[in-house]
Amino acid sequence: MSIAAKKRVFASPASLTDNKFHFCPGCHHGLVHRLAAETIDYYDLSSKAIGVIGVGCGVFLYDYLAIDCCESPHGRAPAVATGIKRSNPDSFVVTYQGDGDLAAIGTSEIIHAANRQESITIIFVNNSVYGMTGGQMAPTTLPGQKTTTTPAGRQPVGDGYPINVAELISTLKGTAFAARVACHSHTHIRTARKAMRRAFQAQIEKRGLGLIELLSACPTNWRMTPQQSVRRLEAEMINTFPLGTYKDF
């Protein structure tokens, strides 16, 4: 039977553009982009969604999602999102941030946005490293992990312990939803899809801030093959960053 005669059971979501991703082979940013696009389609949000893009490897989100988008200074996406949502309450506002962006330079902005119960959704890609800038230590880098700025491996005393964002944000009263999922297997991806929907739903129902943390691979800066990197994600990252839903409105 020719393809033409068959039913397409899996295709690129409507709100994903045709542009090829610029990510490295095996990088999960592309996957997260797709999940975001699927969720936008699922809730039919493409005509009200506004993406607020943090600075990191996801900075070119606007090339890939067919929605209104706004660049934001590194770490400040939740503040920019606050400005958009407050002045445009009918829009659906979603930020896209990496672990450096959200958990280092943007610590204050995410905490206070959650604390004010801003009606925004945060897509948080935790790949335990600064991808875009070439592999420096992130706030989520694992103890002992070698990066370009922790050549001997991260020492928690002095370099800092890994920061557990989903848990931290879930302690704030204005957070409606906070969960951590992973991107490295199809079962995890399916859980991730559900969690992403809840994070969107929180905003749709005006319950408060929704955050989804996605454990992701950065093969390039982990200096691994894609295969090795998904194995590391499973074997090492999940220990430090337990999967689960930490708050659900």
Binding site: V9, K20, H186, I189
Partner: protein, 68 residues
């Protein structure tokens, strides 16, 4: 019977789809490279594809379409 179309220029040869397909329907063709220099995933027409779409689900580059 399923069938998978590879958007070759999107594929980066990460190999995730190969690993997830229980039927072994996909392989990296090392003799070919796309414009970006990657060996690309290739669908073996001669094997049995359930159309389960796991390969597409796991592909980080949205390089696969699945038909059934």
């Amino acid at each position: 019977m399923g069938r998978v179309a590879v958007k070759e220029e999107r594929c980066k040869g990460c190999g995730y789809c190969l690993e997830v397909c229980k039927e072994g329907n996909l392989y990296l063709d090392s003799t070919r490279r796309n414009r970006s220099g990657y060996s690309v995933a290739t669908f073996s027409e001669d094997k049995v594809c359930s159309g389960c779409a796991l390969c597409a689900e796991i592909c980080p580059d949205v390089a696969l379409e699945v038909y059934r």
